[in-house]
Each structure stands twice: as structure tokens, then as C-alpha cells.
């Protein structure tokens, strides 16, 4: 029976040799290798839940009067987009579960990508011959950030309107072309032409998902073509030989288990832990804003950057050349992306190491990289923390202005200190290991045969 099915398929596709190799593809084992997989599975959940939501969501800013189960907003004039999200949340059975699972999956998706990136960076997995795999991954991270931003902007609640206003201000702040670019995207000064909602919708449900799926496919194809990297945790694992669990029978059930676990956690979160209760924020109006609502975590670094920049527009000869939001909202993420993209080539230059590598390094094995990485990461994390200074004010009572002044200095000083500390720690650890190895050798040679 199975033989006949295989013969049928192979005669018509010629896929047998390829599939045989695929089934025996070796997956080296380490817990940190699962982070990228978690992102992949969160993406599956996003696609599945997202498709369900499109069956109910109306991407329109046409006015309508809300009549539904949520009585506090009953009779209020809102946009169709907002009303349809209220309907999904209160009147579509399982709608709230799917909507919240979708939102949680987006947060986990970006988090898993970031953790995966950190793992890849600190183990040197991006080195030759995997620079392209890494580049595609970094591009995917930034595509995912934009996709998430578009998603929560579509709802047209107060929070999404504030987010869009900030996005508009950042677009507007680009020197020379900002105003034209914003008009091109929004069709009209903020809040924009009704067409803007159609554009945002198709971008969120088709263009960006296709982009992510394309980059994801390329990423996985490149990974598989060069094989996974591995730690040299046993003698057989070398630069030339990879040792790991074969896809079938060992890895497949484990991966399936991880897929189901990720889905289970996201569904638990979607059912039990409230996220973005848009009915509490209310509909967006240009004249309204709140600081009770917080955007998704992955925008925190941009909010921090926007808040930290002191008060100035770059004005030359009475003309505003660079408006303020450019620094934190556009330049900062572009610098981070450029630094991430450039790093593999920069490291080749700095270290002079142009050899292909299949074995991973521990962070301590590359002290300079680890130091630079810790410095860079703490720079971004500190700016992220500055974005939560208002929460620290509310919950801890620490003065907002003093916090901002602290961060304005700390984001330039602490990364250098932490980077140097990490570098020193790496050197210390390797030195300690060398001493231990030396002692063991001495003990072994002192022992009688």
C-alpha cells in the first residue's frame, strides 16, 4: 500500500531521491536551536487565525452606529472597522479567542525572531557560508515589525489612531521628501483619505504576509542547503561532519510537539489572558489621546527613542530641514538595521577570518564580538527601557523628567561599560578554562598508569 503510493508519486514527480535525503536530514541538538522554529510556528498560527479574522473584519472608516452586545458603546457613532472588531470580540462566537490568539501570536512571533537573532549573533552562526541566511532573517524581522504595526493600526481604536499619527509624523519627518511621501501613503493630510484603509488592509493581509512567507521560504531553503550549524559537543561533530537527529523518525515528532506546544500556549493566552481590549480604549478621534493604553512590546524601542531626543528641529535658513521625529523614529531603526546587516561583513574585515565555519562558538570564544554585541544590545534595551519611563512613574513613582535625563546619559555610557565588562568576562572565562585544562592534564600525567 505505502510502496504503491510512493511508486505512484515518484513516477510522476521524480521526488524520491530528494525526499529520501530530506527524511534523513540531520538536526544537531541544542535547546537554543528551537527559537527560530518557535517563530515559524507562531507564523503558522498567525496565518490561520488571521484568515479567520478577515472573514469578519471590515476595512472601512465609513461611519456607522454601533449596536451590539457591548452596552457601554451602544449607540455610539464609530467607523465600520472599529464596529466590526467589536462584533468579532463580543458577538462572533470564538471571535475573541481567535482575535486574542492572533495578537498574542504576533507578540510571540517577533519575540522569538529577536531571541533567535541574539542566539545566532552570539554563537557566530552567521559566518561564511551563512551570511545570506542571516541577511534574509534580519530583513524578515523588520518586515514582521511593520506587519505587526499595520495589524494593530487597522482596528481604528484610540491606540491604533495614536500609533498611526506617530507613523505619519515619522514619514513626514524624512528630509526633503517626507511631506510628499506621507501624501502618497495617506492620500491626504492625517487622518488621511478613506483609501488609506484599503491600502493598509491589503498590505497587512496580503503584501506583507507574502513578503514574510517569501523571505521565510528563502531563509529555510538556505539553511537546509548549507545544513544546520552545530556546537562541537562530541568528538564526531567537526567542521566537515554534522551529527544530529534525522528528520524521520527522530526529529519530526519532536518538531511536531513543538508546533503543537506553541499553538497550545498561544491558544491558552488567547483564551485566558486579555490583550488589547479595544472596547476600553474607544474609537479614535484626532482630538483624543490616552496614556493608559500601551502599544505592543516590539515598538517600545522606537517609543523610547522618540521620547529621549531633546527638543529641537534642525532648521536651516528658516526652513525646517530635519523634524524631530526623524531621529528616533526613522534614523534609529535604520541605524540598527544597517548595523545588523553590515555586521557579518564588518566582522570579516575586523577579524580577517574569511574561512567557512560550520561549528558554532560559545560567546566566550569570541570576546570582541561578545563585547560589541552586549554593548549594542544594551544600547537598544536601554532605549527600550526609556520608553517605559512613564510606567515606572505610574507604578514606582520615580520622576519622569529625572528618568529621561538619566537615560539620555545612560544610553551612551552604560553600553560601553557593559560591553567592556562582557569582553573582560569572556577573557576571564577562557583563561580559567585554560588553567583547569592544564591542572587536569597535570593530574592525569601524575597518576600511575
Amino acid at each position: 500500500m505505502i510502496r504503491r503510493a510512493i511508486r505512484f508519486a515518484d513516477e510522476r514527480s521524480g521526488a524520491a531521491p530528494f525526499l529520501r535525503k530530506t527524511l534523513r536530514y540531520a538536526f544537531p541538538d541544542h535547546w537554543s536551536f528551537l527559537l527560530g522554529e518557535v517563530a515559524l510556528y507562531a507564523f503558522f498560527v498567525l496565518i490561520a487565525t488571521g484568515i479567520y479574522l478577515t472573514f469578519f473584519f471590515q476595512p472601512s472608516t465609513d461611519p456607522t452606529v454601533y449596536h451590539g452586545s457591548y452596552s457601554p458603546l451602544d449607540g455610539l457613532e464609530v467607523t465600520k472597522a472599529y464596529a466590526s472588531v467589536l462584533r468579532i470580540s463580543f458577538d462572533v462566537k470564538a471571535g475573541l479567542l481567535i482575535r486574542q490568539t492572533h495578537h498574542w501570536a504576533a507578540d510571540v512571533f517577533v519575540a522569538a525572531i529577536v531571541l533567535h537573532l541574539i542566539r545566532v549573533f552570539f554563537t557566530g552562526a552567521y559566518r561564511r557560508p551563512r551570511e545570506l541566511t542571516y541577511t534574509v532573517g534580519v530583513l524578515m524581522l523588520f518586515t514582521a515589525l511593520l506587519e505587526g504595526y499595520l495589524g494593530y493600526s487597522l482596528v481604528d481604536d484610540l491606540l491604533s489612531g495614536m500609533g498611526l499619527a506617530i507613523g505619519y509624523a515619522v514619514a513626514l519627518s524624512i528630509p526633503f521628501v517626507g511631506a510628499n511621501l506621507a501624501l502618497l501613503i495617506w492620500g491626504h493630510p492625517f487622518p488621511g483619505d478613506p483609501d488609506f484603509w484599503s491600502r493598509m488592509y491589503i498590505a497587512h493581509v496580503l503584501i506583507f504576509p507574502l513578503l514574510i512567507a517569501g523571505l521565510l521560504g528563502l531563509h529555510l531553503a538556505l539553511v537546509a542547503s548549507r545544513h544546520h550549524t552545530q556546537f562541537a559537543s562530541r568528538p564526531a561533530q567537526s567542521e566537515r561532519r554534522v551529527v544530529g537527529l534525522p528528520a524521520v523518525p527522530a526529529q519530526a515528532p519532536r518538531s511536531l510537539g513543538l508546533l503543537l506546544s506553541v499553538a497550545a500556549v498561544l491558544v491558552f493566552l488567547g483564551g485566558l489572558v486579555q490583550i488589547n481590549p479595544v472596547w476600553l480604549w474607544g474609537p479614535y478621534h484626532v482630538s483624543q489621546a490616552t496614556n493608559g493604553a500601551q502599544p505592543d512590546w516590539y515598538l517600545g524601542w522606537l517609543i523610547g527613542a522618540l521620547r529621549l531626543v531633546p527638543s529641537f528641529d534642525l532648521v536651516v535658513g528658516g526652513r525646517t530641514l530635519v523634524p524631530n521625529p526623524f531621529w528616533g523614529g526613522a534614523l534609529f531603526p535604520l541605524v540598527v538595521m544597517a548595523a545588523l546587516l553590515a555586521w557579518p561583513w564588518l566582522e570579516r574585515r575586523l577579524s580577517g577570518d574569511r574561512e567557512p565555519h560550520n561549528l558554532l562558538q560559545r560567546p566566550r570564544d569570541a570576546p570582541v564580538r561578545t563585547g560589541i554585541g552586549v554593548g549594542f544590545l544594551s544600547w537598544v534595551v536601554l532605549i527600550f527601557m526609556a520608553g517605559s519611563a512613564d510606567r515606572a512613574l505610574v507604578f514606582l513613582g520615580i520622576g519622569y523628567m529625572s528618568q529621561i535625563w538619566f537615560y539620555r546619559v545612560a544610553v551612551w555610557v552604560l553600553p560601553v561599560v557593559l560591553g567592556l565588562l562582557a569582553w573582560r568576562l569572556c577573557l576571564g572565562l577562557t583563561a580559567m578554562e585554560a588553567v583547569q585544562a592544564e591542572q587536569e592534564r597535570a593530574v592525569r600525567s601524575a597518576l600511575p598508569e
Binding site: 462566537k93 505619519y168 510537539g257 522618540l306 527638543s311 560550520n358
Partner: protein, 329 residues
């Protein structure tokens, strides 16, 4: 006879043996490692699968009967079903199926293939004599076609017409109304309080429409030169849209910590740009690069607030050239 029978028997046995041997030889070498059967683990997997089935059935039941707290029950039952399936997969992978390791070569560089590719490209180019001409022509065709394909994108918006950024619905004598369209009276505006006003009978979702109105103590009032008459009885009005990133300036800070925050201030909750209403909404903290545009006010004979002109500058986030002119109707 007996010998014959013995010989035949021997031959038969040998033949059978050969046949069996050859059958055994025909069976190929194992690919997947052998594994001791683990019937108890199989039982565990089966139990986990049944439990997952039960949870999934509970999801269907909860949905069909529309239980109270439906979202929570749906999440619990579906999540539990998925978690049990995950457990079944992991137990099966670890204890039922063989967990061997395989060793493979990393792919090596294929210099010969790369060489051949380069050769194909080189030999294809050999026959071309007017390379520059063709490249130039192809470049021209590509550029022009690219432009033709990208030009329709200009229909997205008035690409070159930035006039609309300077639009404002405010003009002389326009009344300030509240969210219900009721005009504000000067005597209603109390100190240490905060009012949002809109231009009467105008679109409120335009960025230039909403203004904040506050009353400032006359002794503290210190407006920029030329605005002496803009604040009758100490009442000032400023655009409510932050000049930093376009959020509504929705917080009014009363003096709480005299040492650090000495005066009332208008604060934007997005990035905490802080403006001093007594000083023409000058920026005192935060990222905003220019003050909130001020709306000159007048009080008419009925005691109602009216605009005495247009806003003092373009509203909302800055753009290239934002400072060059005042808004127009």
C-alpha cells in the same frame, strides 16, 4: 530407496535453505536504527491522544451550547487538546520511535560547477560585438519601462501638492464649540481646568480643528510679542495636536512638585512633550521642536469665545518647510 529418500530430503532441505538464505539476502540493510518495542509508552501515547480527543470534543460542546465565559472555555479546551497532542508527539518521538543519530558530510564547495556556470555566461557573451550599445539600449528600455510602471503610483495622493498641509478651518469670528456643538462662554473657562474646543460647523477630524482652552493667571501670562490681545481675560487657546508626532495634547499638569515642575503645563501622552500655556505654549520639556500654534481669541457681546484670526502656525508634526508660512483657510 532409503538412500534415495535421504538424498531427496537433503536436496529439498538445501534448496529450502538456499531459498531462505537468498530471501534473507534480498532484504536490504536497515536505514532506520532498530528499536526495542515499548508497549507501555505506546499505551501512554494512546491515552494522551484520547485525552486530546476529549478536550477537542469539549471545545465543540462549549461552542455548540454557548457556555458562559465561552472565550475562556474555548481557549482552555483547545489549548489543552493541543498541549496533549504535543505531549503525545514528544512521548512517541522519545520512547516509541527510534532516536538514533546520523552523521553526514557538510556540503563542500563545488568548484567545477561554479566554473561551468561562469563558462556558460562567458561563452554566451562571446558572440556579441556591440556590447556597449546593447547594454545602453537595454538600460534605456529598462529605465523607461520601470518609470512607466511606477508612475501610476502617483495616483495614491497629491504627490507634489503640499498645500493641504497648511489648511485650517479656523478664521476670524468662528465660535469655539464643545463636543456637542454648544458654544463656550468665557465665564465657563475656569483656572486649573482644561477644555477641548472645535470650530463651529467644521469637520472635527481635521488635524487643525481641535484646540485646548485654558485660563492662565494674568500675572503669569507672558505671550510672545504681537500677541498681547490674543488672550482676553487670560484665556488662551492652542492647537491640540502635538507638534512632535501628531498625538492629542490630552494631559494638563497642575503644579505638583514645585521644585521640578513649577508651573501648569500641557503634556502630550505619547512622548511627553511639555508646553507652557502662559508662554505661548513654548516647549519646556520633551522632544517637540516648536510651540503649539496659538489661536487668537476674542469675547463677543454675548460673552462667547470666538477666534480672532487663524492659528499662528501650521498644525501638527513638522515637515520640510513647515515654518515658512501661516495656515490659510
Amino acid at each position: 530407496m532409503r538412500r534415495l529418500r535421504g538424498a531427496i530430503g537433503f536436496a529439498l532441505l538445501t534448496a529450502l535453505g538456499f531459498a531462505r538464505g537468498s530471501r534473507r539476502r534480498r532484504r536490504p540493510a536497515r536505514i532506520v536504527a532498530e528499536k526495542e518495542p515499548a508497549p507501555q509508552a505506546e499505551l501512554v501515547v494512546a491515552l494522551l491522544l484520547f485525552a486530546a480527543a476529549a478536550c477537542a470534543a469539549m471545545f465543540v460542546l462549549a461552542y455548540a451550547l454557548d457556555w458562559p465565559h465561552l472565550t475562556q472555555y474555548l481557549g482552555l479546551s483547545l489549548g489543552a487538546a493541543l498541549a496533549l497532542l504535543a505531549a503525545a508527539a514528544v512521548v512517541a518521538g522519545r520512547y516509541v520511535l527510534p532516536s538514533e543519530e546520523v552523521e553526514q558530510d557538510y556540503p563542500a564547495g563545488r568548484l567545477d560547477e561554479q566554473e561551468k556556470l561562469a563558462q556558460i555566461v562567458a561563452e554566451t557573451r562571446e558572440g556579441i560585438t556591440r556590447r556597449c550599445l546593447l547594454l545602453g539600449a537595454a538600460g534605456a528600455a529598462g529605465a523607461a519601462l520601470g518609470a512607466a510602471l511606477i508612475v501610476p503610483a502617483a495616483s495614491f495622493g497629491p504627490l507634489l501638492d503640499t498645500e493641504s498641509f497648511y489648511y485650517s478651518p479656523w478664521r476670524r469670528d468662528r465660535r469655539l464649540v464643545d463636543e456637542h456643538g454648544v458654544p463656550y462662554r468665557a465665564e465657563e473657562i475656569e483656572a486649573e481646568s482644561f477644555y477641548t474646543a472645535y470650530p463651529e460647523s467644521a469637520d472635527r477630524e481635521e488635524m487643525a480643528a481641535p484646540v485646548v482652552v485654558v485660563r492662565v493667571d494674568a500675572s503669569e501670562l507672558d505671550l510672545p510679542p504681537g500677541r498681547e490681545t490674543w488672550a482676553p481675560r487670560g484665556i488662551v487657546a492652542y492647537s491640540k495636536v502635538c507638534t512632535h508626532a501628531g498625538c492629542a495634547v490630552a494631559l494638563y499638569r497642575k503644579p505638583r512638585f514645585p521644585a521640578a515642575e513649577p508651573s501648569p503645563a500641557l503634556v502630550c501622552p505619547c512622548h511627553y512633550s511639555t508646553f507652557d500655556p502662559a508662554k505661548g505654549a513654548a516647549v519646556t520639556f520633551g522632544p517637540a521642536g516648536r510651540p503649539l500654534p496659538q489661536l487668537p481669541l476674542a469675547i463677543d457681546s454675548k460673552g462667547e469665545l470666538r477666534a480672532a484670526g487663524n492659528l499662528s502656525g501650521p498644525v501638527g508634526p513638522a515637515f520640510w518647510g513647515v515654518r515658512t508660512r501661516r495656515p490659510s483657510a
